[in-house]
Symmetry: C2
Subunit: 197 residues, 2 copies
DNA sequence: GACCAACTTTACATGGTGTAAAGTTAATCA
DNA sequence: TGATTAACTTTACACCATGTAAAGTTGGTC
């Protein structure tokens, strides 16, 4: 079958994209670089992905498929109390960001010049914001949401705390370990959101 | 004097840069656009500023000169308690960010492609981080710093809360008013950092 | 043996930054 | 007054990545 060949080439490109982004986070990764690493011509990449944003989006999905997201998310979904949901979600988020950061970083770099890239990013991140909303709702149901916050405001605050930029600032720039990030951000989130009403 | 003419042209360029950046935050502002707005050839801009990063840095300084930073910072410097220092500093920071954001945004957009731009930004932001450190120290002197935090960690946390990306996320994207930003972030910062030891 | 999907090769348009160099204008000074 | 020169203009070009275009090659498939 021809389409088997096509799928194989697609996989080669995605794997090359992922590997390159993981290795050299600093310098930017070209379409040409990726083609070269995949052992394929630059035009072939455009045959599979109509532009760079689409390739990066596909690379994100490629990672997601490897990670078994549903399994990883179970603890956050099953957590009984709001506080435990927050802990579980932040734990998940830190692990997940660690995996996808290089791709997100590439997308973030091009988001201002390229609407397609901006869309991919905002899709990805808004999905995660729903996780924040869930956690806040659970906390509110428990009666532990600080009366100072509306649910929307609390969601914005938690979402801000968990932003990709904050993560990279603390973990990449300031050198926090993953465990420090999880511990400190979890503590900060709970202390900010929880009120003894 | 020749140099008077030169200074006048320089001022024209800086003013044009500032106006353009303030008006159209969304689309990017070219060297050519700025030259045009200043009524000057593109090459003349390069005669005064060796590259875009330098022009933006000068535009930042140009704003600073207008703002009388020292006066604005007085309340934060004079505040007696750590808690009041935090409030005063966040108030100052929100006002200041509001003024310089368009320029910072332009610098942030180019920081990954251009080392000079990255340097300008990190200079500007590290100066502000010192403000966070001062506030944390004051809080610690009062004996009100949550024992969970070291001074360095607390500084990182406060600094993260006040990051430009967070500000734009809340104020630009989520539509918070300046007052909401100040009130909510101040409350969150105090609740996170202050401990009853 | 014809067909065609997948891929290659070559070439070009675009857009913004920065460099280079020759030409113009008018203030300054001997 | 006339030469000098600082400030600015004009024109042209190199660069670099993205994306488009089109003709050519290879090797399964029927």
């Amino acid at each position: 079958m021809h389409s088997e060949i096509k799928q194989k080439t697609r996989a080669l490109i995605l794997e090359a994209s992922l590997q390159l982004l993981n290795r050299r986070q600093t310098s930017s990764v070209n379409m040409a670089d990726i083609a070269k690493a995949a052992g394929v011509s630059r035009q072939t990449v455009y045959l599979h992905f109509s532009n760079r944003a689409e390739l990066l989006a596909a690379t994100l999905s490629y990672i997601d498929a490897k990670l078994e997201l549903q399994v990883r998310l179970q603890p956050a979904i099953e957590a009984r109390t709001g506080a435990k949901k927050i802990s579980a979600f932040i734990q998940f988020w830190a692990d997940y960001l660690n995996e996808i950061y290089p791709v997100l970083y590439a997308l973030m770099r091009m988001q201002h010049e390229d609407d397609a890239a901006a869309d991919v990013l905002s899709d990805k991140l808004l999905t995660a914001k729903d996780g924040c909303r869930d956690a806040v709702s659970a906390l509110d149901d428990d009666g532990f949401l600080d009366l100072r916050w509306s649910k929307d405001t609390a969601t914005d605050i938690l979402w801000m705390l968990l932003s990709v930029d904050n993560w990279s600032m603390l973990v990449i720039e300031s050198g926090w370990s993953k465990q420090q990030y999880v511990d400190h951000i979890t503590y900060a989130a709970k202390k900010t959101l929880i009120g003894v009403n």
